[in-house]
Assembly symmetry: C2
DNA sequence: GTCTATACTTTGATAGAC
DNA sequence: GTCTATCAAAGTATAGAC
């Protein structure tokens, strides 16, 4: 009221009024709500109405903050790919196969555990034929898989594991770990649980690590050193 | 024209005109088109418009034949569950674990191979929180899993396989096999293929069988008898 | 900066012409 | 039996009040 006649330009924060903090909070709410809705119903099945309701905002606020439905969706996909890339650290032939594969399974499992909505969002995108992710799959991700595959093959040549097809092995690990996020409704229905506890997830991780490592002829450190 | 004045009632076939055969063909076309569209975009994301276009029929014909979008979707889900149930034959403790697990992996793989759209339809339903399949999951399917789990445990007690959690094992097999239908777009993008050949599928089946059986300490007949 | 009102398109579904 | 015309509701997006 006593600020004079200086017009508020965009970005200018007025004292006592909602400044950047409101925007940040609203954006966070919208992104979280949108991730849930897109994960459940896919790109086409999701409505801005449903997203706005879940975020506790009027419908047009979603568009005000995010520009368009398409832009919002792309932003969420990119956020998930960034999380994914964060754990795609490089490995070398000199590393221990048991260590690497266990870390691989564990980190992938934790990603699905921490971001189940993002995991399902990704799954829905792939189910739809990956219209927004074609490039990423055929480029970046393909190169990453080929690099790892090469190392698995070299391990096999050195007799550190069986000569299994490394690409099928990567797909096996991906599918087995994603399953608990993407098919959560099925897992809970069949096991009769309300949710998977941390202990459940730990148990599953151990199970998968043991079966897959043993199945590929990799002697895990635990088994090897405590015998 | 010379048939007299008898009005054509429903079900009555007039000579030379489209009789049941047209209906059958149209229904088949609609079901196939709908399976594709629902698989890609989920229940909400699918539009009757898109289904009609893929079936080569006007939009209202879809409703004429199928009654409602909901009814069409449920019918497709039930058809897929019927295919699924068809290969859920009973097993006994007396059976050979290697035989049973291999047949399990192989038949599940073939189901995904023969009905990829149905497999993705199912996946989309689960992603959406299984609104139409809750009952089936918590009832029929849960009972089936528990029965198999019991047998796996008895095999473990008899020393025929490692004492792994049988439910996690079933989920592992499901996820690993479903992956090639549900995540087809990812698999093709990463491998740089246009499609998976029969030979590819056979190779993957062999890979999964070897790794999972070995991983669970089941000695496969091949390995056992030819050593 | 935020929300209400509204423009315009597409949706599932129905009525009625042929 | 099949298709065109149409409905009310819901979709994305924008304009403008506050």
């Amino acid at each position: 009221m006593t600020q004079g006649s200086v017009p508020a330009e965009r970005g200018v924060r007025e004292p006592g009024e909602a400044n950047g903090v409101t925007r940040q909070r609203n954006e966070r709410e919208i992104l979280a709500a949108a991730e849930r809705v897109f994960a459940r119903h896919g790109y086409r099945g999701a409505s801005l109405q449903a997203i706005a309701e879940q975020a506790g905002l009027p419908k047009s606020n979603v568009l005000y903050y995010m520009g368009s439905k398409r832009g919002l969706y792309v932003r969420l996909l990119e956020r998930m790919m960034a999380r994914w890339n964060a754990l795609l650290d490089d490995i070398s032939v000199e590393d221990d196969p048991a260590d690497v594969l266990e870390a691989f399974i564990r980190s992938k499992m934790q990603l699905s555990r921490r971001h189940p909505e993002g995991s399902r969002l990704f799954a829905a995108e792939i189910l739809a034929g990956a219209p927004f992710l074609q490039e990423y799959l055929r480029g970046e991700l393909r190169a990453w898989v080929q690099a790892r595959a090469k190392i698995f093959e070299q391990w096999a040549e050195r007799g550190l594991m069986d000569p299994v097809d490394p690409v099928w092995l990567i797909f096996l690990i991906w599918s087995a770990t994603q399953h608990y996020a993407d098919f959560e409704a099925q897992v809970l229905g069949i096991t009769g649980r309300d949710e998977l506890s941390d202990a459940d997830v730990e148990e599953i991780t151990t199970f998968l690590t043991r079966v897959i490592l043993k199945g590929c002829g990799v002697r895990s450190r635990d088994d090897g050193s405590t015998d």
